[in-house]
Amino acid sequence: MDLNFTPEELAFRAEIRAWVAENLPKEISHKVHNALRLSRDDLQRWARILGKKGWHGWAWPRQFGGPGWNAVQRHLFEEECALAGAPRIVPFGPVMVAPVIMAFGSPDQQRRHLPGIMSGDVWWSQGYSEPGAGSDLASLKTRAERRGDYYVVNGQKTWTTLAQHGDWIFCLVRTSTEGKPQTGISFLLIDMKSPGVSVRPIVMLDGEPEVNEVFFDNVEVPADNLVGEENKGWTYAKYLLSHERTNIADVNRAKRELERLKRIAKAEGVWDDARFRDQIALLEVDIVALEMMVLRVLSGERSGKQSLDVAGLLKIRGSEISQRYTELMMLAAGPYAAPFRQEAMEAGWQGEHVGAAHLAPLAGSYFNMRKTTIYGGSNEVQRNIVAQTVLG
């Protein structure tokens, strides 16, 4: 047992750190460090910078043009990016659909889609949830009917994150109503510019249109865009979930945000209030404990000796922590949490701030983070999964 990274791993970290320091645009990290609004251009600019280096698909194997890093190296990369104030890499392309295309897609699909994902040029969205299919995802109803060389897709997806920017969307669609609900689902890649696709933004608690409804009205999708076999989509989606591991804890971002919380607490005069400060101390313990749990998983993955089935725990804890730091920041703002001025969340806004500039985004971030215990399998569903590992 050893807590420390090896000299090789530390050298790797230093290399990443230097590269990020050199290549992450300051105006973007400024926005991230201050929770200011990030535009599509900001996100895509960073994605393309990474893509040029071959790191936008940082978890990809060499075979598909990725760096072929192991679990620890991937973690170090994620940590260095987060601490430096890089935006989160929008996961739908490089983290979610790419591994499915690699594992189950045709060589043609791989040639066609993977380069655009790696380069950051093509923006992907995820079409899973529907108005009637949330936690019970397998009850989804969006239909895809085979007609010759095409599927004709009809239905509606919802909570589709950043779909207003999307070029392509990967969807779970119903291709059969026979048997169990899970067995009639297929995994389809859909060009969002296809006739019949429409996107309607949903304004969220913080006033931002972060998610969307996506409607499919007789959308013709070439049959070649089916990934793998018809009616096997559920298996592929589950494979994707198993691919999403320590990342879901988001502990690196939590570390960065805890530092920001401390700065805000000092500026607002609550750092020296023992009652408030103890709450920060508790959060710090929570974050160290979560990070240790992540490191245990990474160590187990690398050595292959102990496999830890704790993905549900990481999701629950990581999401609770992300809610807690935004909550404490908002509480630190006190009455200054109230002003709702979206213009004050634009970098470079020249108007007069109420109180101080750092206060403007705090309540919005708090409201925004309520989603984290709901999305990606609500924390109640995660508890069912965790309980299953203990009770059978």
């Binding site: 047992m1 050893d2 807590l3 420390n4 990274f5 090896t6 791993e9 620890v72 570390k255 805890l258 530092e259 401390k262 023992a274 400060r277 103890d278 920060i280 101390a281 508790l282 710090e284 313990v285 974050i287 160290v288 404990a289 979560l290 990070e291 240790m292 749990m293 490191l295 245990r296 990474l298 160590s299 187990g300 050595s303 000796k305 102990q306 704790v310 549900g312 725990l313 629950i316 804890r317 109640e380 995660q382 508890r383 069912n384 965790v386 309980a387 590992t389 203990v390 009770l391 059978g392």
Partner: protein, 372 residues
């Protein structure tokens, strides 16, 4: 960064487990507790296994193992609900004596290693609560490098079974650490059973002869206590691990409304939350153990962080597992309730959650995380 155990560490774990399975049934433990909690026989058996020499340097007849081996043993002793003062006698005492003059070490270390002597830390005082930098007990020079102590120490673990005590006392020139032998003149020891099936004692010292261990009493005491915190964390993990298992078995067998109560979601979610606390606790137990070798500041901060997590985890898992058992969970005859009692008293060992939260709060820095 590697959290795998070596083959030797796994063998050590297995050896302790085998002894627990063969020699330390709940019936035996319950009998000991009912008879007043005397465990010197049990301690001697741990000595026969060589375990009491684990942290004693090889030059003094021990095995000279490190914190990870100590953690492995403590987890197993926790799992087995072993109520002998192993952490106190075999881990904390050698850590404290490491700074003693050679003669004192030569006198006591080999006896600790073969369990012929039980040496325990006697540092708690009525007014100091968990603070290590306060001692009303006074030390006065008695000529020729000898000292005498006056004062009182409280809730000394296995106090009336021990052969010697490590006692912090104020000299007027800071807190020093001393060794006091059980038979020393002017020492009155009053023992009593504790809620976790073991024993403790009140010590009164009146012009009691003592040998100086170290002048930097607080620094050395902190080192010893941090060793004790890591041991408490590991024991807590073993206790929680087994208690959660017992509870899961119970939920799967107990039937109400015609079905196993494990089928009720309200109870399942409680189990999920207990599993969370266990795994966070396990993670921080590793952290505590692996940070023991760091410089004092980083070490103290890490150990306090770990004790905060374990304090919360142990209380949650203990209380919820009792609740999930229903009536049987609050009876003396059921093994689970004794896990709960031990978990409860571990929280108050070497500083409780609020005390250590205060330490974490006072030691916070700008950066955060495992390596901060």
């Amino acid at each position: 960064m590697d959290f795998d155990f070596t083959d030797d560490q796994i063998s050590l774990r297995d050896a302790v487990q085998r002894w627990v399975d063969k020699g330390f049934s709940f019936e035996r433990r319950h009998g000991i507790a009912k008879a007043g909690g005397r465990t010197r026989d049990v301690y001697a058996e741990l000595g026969e296994l060589g375990l009491t020499g684990l942290a004693v340097p090889e030059s003094h007849g021990g095995m000279g193992f490190g914190p990870v081996e100590a953690m492995v043993v403590m987890e197993e002793l926790g799992r087995g609900l072993v109520n002998a003062p192993y952490a106190q006698g075999a881990l904390v005492a050698p850590a404290l004596l490491a700074a003693a003059p050679e003669a004192l070490r030569r006198q006591w270390m080999p006896k600790i290693a073969d369990a012929s002597a039980l040496v325990v830390l006697a540092h708690q005082e009525r007014a100091a609560r968990y603070r290590l930098d306060q001692a009303a007990t006074r030390a006065a020079p008695a000529g020729g490098g000898a000292w005498t102590l006056d004062g009182a120490k409280s809730v000394v673990p296995a106090g009336d079974e021990a052969d010697a005590y490590i006692v912090p006392a104020h000299t007027g020139n800071g807190i020093h650490l001393f060794l006091v032998e059980r038979g020393a003149k002017g020492l009155a020891v009053t023992g009593y059973p504790t809620h976790d099936g073991a024993r403790a004692a009140e010590l009164k010292l009146a012009a009691t002869p003592a040998a100086l261990i170290a002048e930097d009493g607080v620094g050395q005491l902190e080192r010893g206590v941090d060793t004790g915190i890591a041991a408490a964390c590991a024991e807590g993990v073993g206790l929680m691990d087994r208690l959660l298992l017992l509870t899961a078995e119970y939920l799967n067998t107990r039937k109400q409304f015609g079905v196993p109560i494990a089928s009720f979601q309200a109870l399942r979610h409680r189990i999920a939350d207990a599993k969370m606390e266990l795994e966070l606790g396990r993670s921080m137990s590793y952290y505590a153990t692996l940070k023991l070798g760091e410089a004092a500041d980083a070490r103290r901060r890490a150990l306090s962080q770990a004790k905060v997590q374990l304090g919360r985890s142990m209380r949650y898992v203990g209380q919820q597992c009792v609740q999930l058992h229903g009536g049987i969970g609050v009876t003396d005859e059921y093994v689970g309730s004794h896990y709960f009692k031990r978990l409860t008293l571990l929280e108050t060992t070497f500083g409780d959650t609020l005390h250590h939260l205060g330490e974490v709060s006072a030691r916070m820095q700008n950066t955060a995380g495992v390596f901060a």
